[in-house]
Amino acid sequence: MEYLETGKIKNQAPNHKASVSTQTGFPSPATHYLEPSIDLNKELIRHKDATFYVRVSGDGWADFSMLHKDVLIIDKALTPKAGNLVLIVQQGAFKVIRFPATRSSASFTVWGTITYIIHYTL
């Protein structure tokens, strides 16, 4: 079963108010063009109830563009495809790999698919 969002239907944030100037009584020229602001929760997260954040410690995964203190967004609902970055568990330890095209299934357990890497630049 594939679905895009889970849970209850939420009301849109009330960002669509037609703003009428209290000074002049004229509506703003942007009235009909207003849209809700970008919400990263909506853009970056497809399955809210299956999404977890984890923090990278150390630069051992620099090859995957993951540096010390980066935060990974992990979606456990996705079925990984070949080439996807995945967090796996092998012999009781976490590891990051690129998901192989052919897989000998017994060798590891997929914990989740990494969808974004949040890197702090300042």
């Binding site: 079963m1 679905y3 889970t6 849970g7 209850k8 399955h47 809210k48 109830d49 299956a50 977890f52 954040y53 984890v54 923090r55 990278v56 410690s57 150390g58 051992g60 995964w61 935060v71 990974l72 456990k76 609902a77 967090l87 568990v89 009781g92 330890a93 976490f94 990051v96 357990t109 914990w111």
Partner: protein
């Protein structure tokens, strides 16, 4: 048809999601203040030579020796993980009755696009892949049977956590498997009585004449009897019931002797329960406060006492409740003992719109807005950001010991799971 979905050793499973090094190993979770074990996973339960229900100080050495990992309870994590599970269940049915933190009934009537067994398997697989928490699913025509199906799904290995009772033949087989103790809602007293007349299995129970059951076991027994025979009598409750009483009691981190510290703890607990009270829009009529010393300590003199006060006009105002609690506490506090625990219970709960005043006091006397602001602040900036000054600032002197609590991985940005690599 009704599905009962129940997480397997929920607290331990939540911990294990983030600790793959513990997969397949014994894990237990301790009560508040690390006093005793409240949850154990399958591997830990298998260690029958350890008396898991004994207080922690008696068995700690044994747990360590047997390489059992123990965690202080992390209700923030368990609550959040529970919410995820329940949200996912809502994608499977429009009617979900959350029965407790780790179990829910869902209405699967009208599922026709697939077999119930496949649907149950899908529910099970989805929850474990999305959250990492394993569950068992039982489907049957009534709640009591669904609960039994769930139990069978976990206890009988070949079912592999999915059991559907959808024919009379399967129902009877299940009833013959079940001892009376496996029946949801059949208390110890009734079990003993049934044993006396030679009834040991759920099946034998359903073969008793209804008149006998009604007479000897009241309407509660009759409902179970009917439910087990496939006749649904327990309604679906999608709205949570309001609580009839709210209480909390926790052991202190260390023994306390002087009244002011105990008062602080008491005031803190009042602020906790009052918040719950306001969230469900109720007011309390009675307040009970109790104190107790450590009954496991042979060196200490023992004392325990409780005091219940009637609040003149029922309220959910933290400050008024605190005043009354303090009065009650002062009445039962006796110097010279080393206290282990203070507890508060609010009872006689009524909806806040039906509060009656008396001749001298109107219910509207206290402004609700202050409490609203306090709740909003505490919600935004964290628990106990603002509150009664009686709570004080020396929380660390009586606060719970949670020595081995795991991180709040899903609610605190500073406590995320850390992946170490070299």
């Amino acid at each position: 048809m009704i599905a009962m979905v129940d997480c397997n050793s929920f607290y331990a499973s939540c911990e294990q999601v983030f600790r793959p090094d513990l997969w397949g190993k014994p894990v237990v979770v301790l009560s508040n203040n690390d006093g005793c074990i409240i949850a154990a996973n399958k591997e830990a339960k298998a260690m029958t030579h350890i008396a898991m229900f004994e207080p922690m100080f008696k068995i700690k050495a044994q747990l360590i020796k047997n390489k059992v990992t123990f965690f202080s309870s992390n209700y923030t994590l368990y609550g959040e993980m529970s919410q995820r599970v329940m949200n996912i269940l809502e994608t499977f049915s429009p009617n979900v009755e959350v029965y407790s933190i780790d179990e829910a009934f869902i209405d699967v009537t009208g599922i026709v696009h697939t077999s119930l067994k496949q649907y149950a398997t899908l529910i099970k697989d989805t929850i474990v892949t999305h959250t990492g928490v394993p569950v068992g699913v039982g489907i049957a025509p009534t709640k009591v049977l669904a609960k039994l199906a769930n139990k069978i799904s976990k206890k009988v290995e070949k079912f592999n956590y999915v059991c559907v009772i959808d024919t009379d033949e399967k129902r009877i087989k299940a009833l013959k498997w079940a001892q009376t103790k496996d029946v949801w809602g059949l208390g110890k007293k009734h079990q003993a009585r049934l044993k006396n007349i030679g009834v040991f299995t759920a099946y034998e129970f359903t073969q008793l004449p209804l008149a006998w059951v009604r007479k000897e076991m009241t309407v509660v027994g009759e409902r179970l009897w009917r439910e087990l025979r496939g006749e649904s009598c327990i309604e679906f409750q999608t709205m949570p019931k309001s609580k009839k009483a709210i209480g909390t009691s926790k052991s202190f981190g260390k023994k306390l002797e002087d009244l002011p510290r105990i008062e602080e703890a008491c005031a803190y607990y009042i602020s906790e329960v009052a918040e719950v009270l306001r969230a469900q829009k109720s007011c309390a009529t009675y307040i009970q406060v109790y104190v107790t010393t450590n009954r496991y300590s042979n060196a200490d003199k023992q004392y325990s006492n409780s005091c219940t006060i009637t609040i003149p006009v029922p309220t959910n105002n933290t400050f008024i409740l605190t005043q009354h609690a303090r009065k009650a506490l002062q009445r039962i506090y006796t110097p010279g003992y080393r206290y282990k625990k203070v507890g508060v219970n609010l009872t006689g709960l009524i909806p806040q719109q039906y509060v009656q005043g008396n001749l001298f006091q109107s219910p509207a006397l206290y402004d609700k807005r202050l409490m609203n602001v306090i709740d909003a602040l505490n919600h935004k900036f964290g628990k106990a950001t603002v509150g009664s000054a009686l709570v004080g600032t020396r929380v660390e002197q009586w606060e719970l010991v949670k020595k081995d609590r795991s991180n709040r991985y899903t609610t605190q940005w500073g406590e995320l799971l850390e992946l170490k690599n070299k």
